[in-house]
């Protein structure tokens, strides 16, 4: 009797919690629903009161306008270039360093790793003034490469990949060494394939991180043609054009690539994000 009662109580608490969770999940998605549907309305319907909860007439003219009146295609390509190249470079440099920290014995290894990881918590934004002056000295202001290099300096990749190298068995490496493979060949042909899941997670997490980065790209990309998608789309907020549907179409253009990436690679986010948090 007691048992049954406890069971019932448990169920109702659980059910109620989950109803609340679902309610807020839907509520949290509402702004995005409003973004998409508004972007498809014409300029008078979008501000109509009471509002149309579902567009009465669908129009793609706002999207056409975003691409015609703004260099939105150029911005998209800039973002792809900046996020893509930053990530490829980061994967190369940090997989090399993580491999050394995990498998090679060299003096000062642990101290160096601690110093690297300590820098993880410092956001690059707080050092934006000296960083900007370095960019000036190297002629990297108003230059896409100025947006790329500081991103490659993060220790995040080393931290993430070291865990993957740590769990790769030493025996494989030793076997390769006995077969006469040099360190570089062992790294490229034996070890890298083993940590592929880690590289996948790093690739996606960092790509999204750079794609959505704002402040640094804002100060580096000064000409209209040199802006990235996030920075360019944000300028629509100050655009004199009073049409809200046009602004919402711009925001949708900026949102869609990341939505696609998320739907395709959801499990990478779950795994990659958790690496820093759960330390067994």
């Amino acid at each position: 009797m007691q048992q049954v009662k406890a069971k019932k109580q448990r169920e109702s608490f659980d059910v109620l919690s989950n109803i609340i969770v679902i309610f807020f999940a839907v509520l949290n998605l509402f702004p995005l629903y409003w973004l998409f549907t508004s972007s498809l309305k014409n300029s008078s319907d979008v501000v109509k009161m009471p509002p149309d909860w579902w567009p009465q007439t669908f129009t793609f003219s706002n999207y056409v306008e975003v691409f015609n009146s703004q260099p939105a295609l150029r911005w998209t390509l800039n973002s792809l270039y900046v996020a893509g190249l930053s990530t490829v470079l980061l994967v190369i440099t940090s997989s090399m360093a993580a491999y050394a920290f995990s498998k090679l014995r060299f003096k000062g290894r642990n101290v160096l790793f601690v110093i690297f990881v300590s820098s993880l918590m410092v956001p690059k934004e707080v050092m934006i003034v000296p960083l900007f002056r370095i960019a000036q000295d190297f002629g990297l202001v108003n230059n896409l490469h100025g947006m790329i290099w500081p991103n490659v300096a993060t220790a995040f990749g080393v931290f993430l990949l070291k865990g993957f190298f740590d769990s790769a068995p030493d025996a494989l490496r030793e076997a390769a060494r006995i077969d006469g493979a040099g360190e570089v060949r062992t790294f490229l042909q034996i070890m890298l394939p083993i940590v592929k899941p880690g590289i996948g997670a790093l690739f996606i997490l960092n790509f999204v991180q750079v794609w959505n980065d704002y402040l640094w790209q804002l100060v580096i990309g000064q000409d209209k043609e040199m802006k990235t998608l996030m920075v360019g789309i944000a300028t629509l907020m100050q655009d004199l054009n009073p049409n809200f549907a046009y602004k919402m179409a711009g925001a949708t253009v900026a949102a869609i690539p990341m939505l696609i990436i998320f739907l395709l690679f959801q499990q990478y986010f779950t795994r990659g994000l958790s690496i820093g948090a759960v330390k067994e």
């Binding site: 989950n18 014995r105 410092v122 000296p130 900007f132 300096a153 939505l259």
Partner: protein, 291 residues
């Protein structure tokens, strides 16, 4: 050529593998920190730098706007972090033991705003909150609350920014908690259930204490993320009305790139750097505990 000393050889190989990352680290992280500290002691006008000691810091601490920016930043950190930890604990503990499809639906719904970025979410919210055309203002009029301008009002601007930032970013904490709770061994719950403990009790007395490392991690990364809060301020309020929503990062940005006060901006950066270092000590200690 073969090196005679195998230890020396492994040392050199190690350094060579670390070298590219290390050079970038020196140039874009270590050097800017040192240079930032140096610049904070100088008055910088274009190419000319004059040593002024702690004048920039003195300027900062006599500027009421800087104080306002500290207070606002602290308010944002405290409220957003408490909301984020509390709500994500609630969501994760409610769903973590349900079927995988449902878990991934909940995870996705809360994480999608994180994915589409603060820039996009700020743009939507600025439309929703627009006094003339926004849905929220319309709802307020329908409920006969009169004309509301939540972002133009000193007493509502901070709560609105807190809510928008929290709603946009809570998904990350939810993903972390769910992953951590799924990792808790099932027999712990079963033992408690045999003893007749309610789910409520199991959550509070077993689950939440067990995910404490995740709580620490989420707290710290969120404090640091909110400390540099910028996008939502620039796009929603521009620090207004009348500096009511100015934050440290926004203050730094304006001094550096609008008012050309590079020394003062560097001093703000140094202060923020010290705060982040101080805050990350517990996390770093936890990460190296098993070393």
């Amino acid at each position: 050529m073969k090196l005679r000393n195998p230890y020396l050889k492994e040392n050199i190989t190690g350094y060579l593998f670390v070298l590219p990352q290390f050079l970038l680290f020196l140039l874009f992280i270590v050097y800017p920190i040192i240079e930032g500290i140096r610049l904070s002691l100088y008055k910088v006008q274009y190419q000319q730098e004059t040593f002024v000691g702690f004048d920039n810091y003195a300027t900062l601490f006599s500027d009421p706007v800087f104080f306002k920016s500290i207070i606002n930043t602290v308010i944002f950190v405290v409220f957003i972090v408490i909301l984020t930890v509390g709500f994500s604990l609630f969501v994760a503990s409610a769903v973590f033991d349900k079927n995988a499809k449902y878990v991934s639906f909940i995870r996705g719904s809360y994480y999608i705003p994180v994915m589409v970025s603060m820039v996009v979410m700020s743009m939507v919210w600025s439309f929703l909150l627009s006094p003339a055309n926004g849905l929220i203002s319309y709802a307020a009029r329908e409920m006969e609350l009169g004309i509301v301008n939540l972002l133009g009002n000193k007493s509502t601007v901070l709560p609105v920014i807190i809510l928008v930032t929290f709603a946009t970013n809570v998904g990350q904490a939810i993903i972390l908690y769910i992953a951590s709770m799924i990792g808790v061994p099932k027999d712990l719950f079963e033992a408690a259930e045999v003893d007749g403990a309610s789910r409520f009790k199991v959550i509070f007395q077993i689950l939440i204490p067990l995910v404490k490392p995740t709580t620490i991690y989420i707290t710290i990364i969120n404090i640091i993320a909110v400390l540099k809060i910028f996008v939502v301020i620039q796009l929603l309020t521009g620090g207004g009305p009348n500096n009511a929503s100015v934050t440290m990062m926004y203050y730094l940005y304006n001094n550096a790139f609008k008012f050309n006060q590079l020394g003062v901006a560097s001093a703000v950066g140094v202060i923020m750097f010290l705060i982040t270092m101080l805050l990350s000590v517990p996390q770093l200690r936890a990460m190296f505990k098993d070393k």
